[in-house]
Amino acid sequence: MKKQVNFILNGKSVSAEVAPHETLLDLLRNDFGLGGAKETCGLGLCGVCTIIVSGVPVSGCLHFASSIDGEEILTIEGMETEEGLHPVQEAFLNNKAFQCGYCTPGMILMAKKLLEENANPSVEEIKDYMAGNICRCASYGQIIEAINEASKLLQQEKAGLNA
């Protein structure tokens, strides 16, 4: 018993037939070929499958695909625009804030949301907000530095737009 869902995926209108048990993560990986988000713990605890649904980060492995009708979905693949990388991606790149890179898409999306809520977070605030994203290689130190730099880049961008 499949259901049709219409949604915006990385800025484009798309639709899909989804089964009741299907997760958003499986839908994006299997039907749309988006491999950035991946299932690691399968329990919504590690952050590797982070996807942004209408502005809210969710664990793609627990989020039912059937619930996304009318929503705007952002994945790591939608972060880079014609103008280039998103400032959070840029900052991760500049600070070499990854090793194996498996957790990186989730880290970047979560950091983007953090900086939307708190433009200039302290280190403690970063640690609190990002606590649900696990990096087993432990590039944590560089990720904190990257978020600090992204905060500056985004504030400069905003100041530039306002000027």
Binding site: G35, T40, L93, Y102, K127, A131, C137
Partner: protein, 792 residues
């Protein structure tokens, strides 16, 4: 100059855009999916398997059991040390989680559902879970028959044993242990334990197998040892090695759990049976059951003299290798011989036992057993120093192995900067001030929280013997490809190995591409593990690049009528050193060689270590390791005496890497290994109930997150160059894993006067230790078993 530069990982952009290639993201046309039914009993005979209901489910292609494998002309068993592990359980299961049947279906969901419809009847046998019980004569036997694999030179001497769960007993005898203890004024004896733990790379084990039109087996796998997978899968399938092709893209972490054959033999056999490509991706729960870190029981007896010298040390190390040996025998031997610590001790006696139990299999885990040993010997160093009233730093300095001293194995130690590592710990921790003022100020208490410092050092011998082959090809436009079977699992080997080739050829790093492991194309390499790749593969690549350079020089020397030693290669041109006006570009040389602007220059090298097998009775060898690499950790902790919770305020990791080819990556390796060990020290532990791992999920087994980081941390590189290393380099992947646990335990002792000898240091365990110590103080019993001999 590419060397010594902190060049960003070559695949960086793909990692921030989610485009990096991992096996998990791969599909091949017509691919089926596999799910595994696992044993629910720890030890038993399979009486019957009824798979008929499962096979009737629409979308299920086939259900395969061990019994079904008997219809095929294959070898059922694989393994790096012993071929003791069946592709699927053959008649018998040995742990809760042992693969019993595999469902092949059109989708992952159907395969997972069908697993529930398979009925297995077991006749349970008496299991053994405690590693010390398992060594007893009347213990239930886990393997009736042991089959040595013979795949690796260092494991060739393993002899089949039957009627015992001890699958390897390594002995080291150095000096005269009895005489040593006679000379000692004080003797200390302590037993330290570590629990099983798991690696949990963010990417699970995953493999795809496909038989191609030439009837060859193609495997794409998230594995750290493609060359071994090729030969071992070839053994299982009874194929020649050239009929098996193994390709490995980037890995989402490894840490040891993706070494040797894990799921590849099963995946390949299933593809052979259904004649269609199959993909097997484990869930994280299955990753817990696939491989663990060895739990250990280590009893250490040490004799010291009143003037602060260790004169005798006896080590008894027992490794719980679980139901299948995996690489446990090598850990038992190669880490076993380092059990007495990085010290100059005249009389050493080591027994190291690799023991089967009915727990999940144990194998390589970043550090390869060394962290379990350092935990014991560095805890005891502080126990001794404290009891004797010595400064633990000075006590270490008094016996630390320095240039030209003899290790307990009989090898003379060279290029090991242990003294420098200690000096860095001394200055970065401000140890002297701290130690001098311990009773008046440097151990601070604020409310119910006490702060104190601790340190530890460790030494590891790199895997020896081993082999790395490399090919370096220069194309007609001067660009270069490096063919290497080293797996980039996040450590940055693609970047670093390319830097080595670029340096040798005088090229900018971006002119060099490192080809990912593909056993049809990239030469044999033992494994990507053991902190060995920079040294072994780096050497092979440097010398293969030199081979290319020599071919360029051969043409140029004729062209300029000079000897080739009068030439140099820089900025993509060969110059005459004394007359730099005379130069020729690489492109022109290649055009000159082939008389057309096409063709390539191929350089190759196979780097092999020298090695002397240890004597089977004494463990002595003059050449047991091609290099040794030391690391040290210093911490300041804060412990809450009401809750027992430990926070790391400051952590310093020091590693002697010989030469940092890419300093940033080296710092990342040091920091990453140290943070991983914080988890091992403070909370990581696989818990079992009658053989069933009861916390095999990331909800019940916690790994370090942002909230567990030290408030402040530092990584310090020491460079004591190795004469045989590429540009002096050694290795670094495991260096910062050695000392974290004892450094924290020593700091805890300095804070509270309690000595914990079992890991991890959970709040509960710390609190219990505080209560015990209060009781002991009342009855004036303190610390380890100490035998104080009469005055001499």
């Amino acid at each position: 100059m590419a060397l010594g530069q902190s060049i960003s990982r070559v695949e960086s952009k793909s990692k921030v855009t989610g485009q990096t290639d991992y096996v998990m993201n791969m599909t091949v046309p017509g691919m089926l999916h596999v799910k595994i039914l696992r044993s629910t009993v720890p030890h038993g005979i399979i009486k019957s398997i009824d798979k008929s209901d499962a096979e009737e489910i629409p979308g299920v292609v086939k259900v395969v059991t061990g019994e079904d494998l008997k219809d095929f002309d294959i070898n059922y068993y694989y393994g790096p040390a012993f071929r003791d592990q069946p592709v699927l359980a053959m008649d018998k299961v040995r742990y809760v989680g042992d693969p019993v049947a595999a469902v092949i279906a059109e989708s992952v969901e159907i395969a997972a559902e069908a697993v529930n419809y398979i009925d297995v009847e077991y006749e349970e046998m008496e299991p053994v879970f405690d590693v010390l019980d398992s060594m007893k004569e009347d213990a239930p036997i886990v393997h009736d028959k042991v089959r040595p694999a013979g795949s690796f030179a260092d494991l060739k001497s393993l002899l089949p044993q039957s009627g015992s769960n001890v699958c390897l007993h390594y002995k080291l005898r150095h000096g005269d242990i009895d005489k040593g203890f006679e000379e000692a004024d004080h003797i200390f004896e302590d037993t330290f334990t570590t629990p099983a733990a798991v690696h949990l790379p963010m990417e699970q084990h995953v493999a795809i197998a496909q038989i191609d039109s030439e009837e060859r087996m193609n495997l794409w796998t998230a594995n750290q040892s493609p060359s071994f997978v090729r030969s071992e899968v070839a053994h299982v399938l009874k194929y020649p090695e050239n009929k098996v092709r193994v390709k490995v893209p980037y890995l989402g972490g490894g840490f040891g759990t993706k070494l040797y054959v894990k799921i590849e033999a099963l995946t390949a056999v299933l593809a052979l049976i259904v004649k269609q490509p199959v993909k097997l991706a484990l869930t994280m729960e299955e990753v817990f059951l696939t491989l663990t870190k060895h739990a250990t029981v280590f009893t250490m007896k040490t004799g010291v003299t009143n003037d602060g010298k260790i004169v005798a040390r006896k080590c008894n190390v027992v490794w719980d290798t679980g139901s299948y040996a995996d690489i446990g025998p090598r850990i038992t031997q190669k880490s076993g011989f380092t059990a007495a610590g990085p010290y100059d001790i005249p009389n050493v006696h080591i027994d190291s036992y690799c023991v089967y139990t009915n727990n999940a299999p144990a194998g390589a885990f970043r550090g390869f057993g060394v962290p379990q040993l350092v935990w014991a010997y560095e805890s005891q160093m502080d126990i001794i120093a404290s009891k004797m009233g010595w400064d633990p730093l000075e006590f270490r300095k008094a016996q630390v192995l320095t240039e030209g001293k003899e290790h307990a194995t009989g090898q003379i130690i060279h290029s090991v900067g242990l003294d420098k590592v200690l000096d860095k710990l001394d200055t970065s921790l401000e140890w002297k001030d701290y130690h001098t003022n311990r009773t008046n100020g440097s151990v601070t208490q604020e409310g119910r929280k006490i702060r104190a410092k601790g340190m530890a050092i460790g030494l590891k011998a790199v895997l020896t013997p081993s082999i790395s082959g490399a090919i370096v090809t220069m194309f007609a436009d001067g660009s270069v490809s490096v063919y290497s079977s080293t797996v980039d699992m996040g450590q940055g080997s693609d970047t670093i190995l390319g830097q080595i080739a670029a340096e040798e050829l005088g090229l900018p790093r971006e002119k060099v591409r490192v080809v990912h492991p593909d056993t049809d194309v990239t030469p044999y390499d033992t494994i990507t593990a053991a902190s060995r790749s920079t040294f072994y593969m780096g050497n092979a690549i440097q010398k293969a690049a030199e081979d290319v350079k020599n071919q360029l020089f051969e043409f140029a020397s004729e062209h300029f009528q000079v000897n080739s030693d009068a030439l140099t290669l820089q900025d993509e041109q060969v110059y005459v050193i004394d007359d730099p006006a005379k130069s020729i570009t690489i492109k022109d040389i290649i055009k000159g060689i082939y008389k057309m602007p096409a063709g390539s220059i191929i350089g190759k090298y196979v780097f092999e270590s020298h090695y002397e097998s240890p004597d089977p009775e004494t463990g002595q060898s003059k050449d047991i390791a091609i290099f040794w690499f030391p690391g040290g950790t210093g911490v300041e902790i804060e412990v809450d005496i009401d809750t027992g919770k430990i926070d790391i305020v400051n952590m310093v990791s020091v590693g002697d890497v010989g030469k940092a080819i890419n300093p940033f990556n080296v710092h990342q390796q040091l920091y990453g290994a140290a943070v991983m060990q914080i988890g091992q020290a403070l909370f990581e532990e696989c818990k079992y109930d009658h053989g069933q791992m009861i916390n095999s999920s990331m909800s019940d087994y916690k790994v370090p997150s942002f909230k567990d980081l030290p408030d402040h941390s530092d990584t310090i590189i020491v460079e004591e160059p190795h004469p045989e290393g590429p540009f002096g380099a050694k290795g670094v992947g495991e260096t910062a894993s050695f000392g974290v646990q004892p450094a924290i335990a020593n700091a805890l002792y300095n804070a509270l006067g309690v000595r914990i000898k079992d890991m991890p240091f959970t709040p509960e365990r710390v609190l219990r230790a505080i209560k015990e110590s209060e009781k002991e103080q009342e009855s004036s019993l303190v610390g380890s078993t100490v035998e104080i001999k009469g005055e001499k």
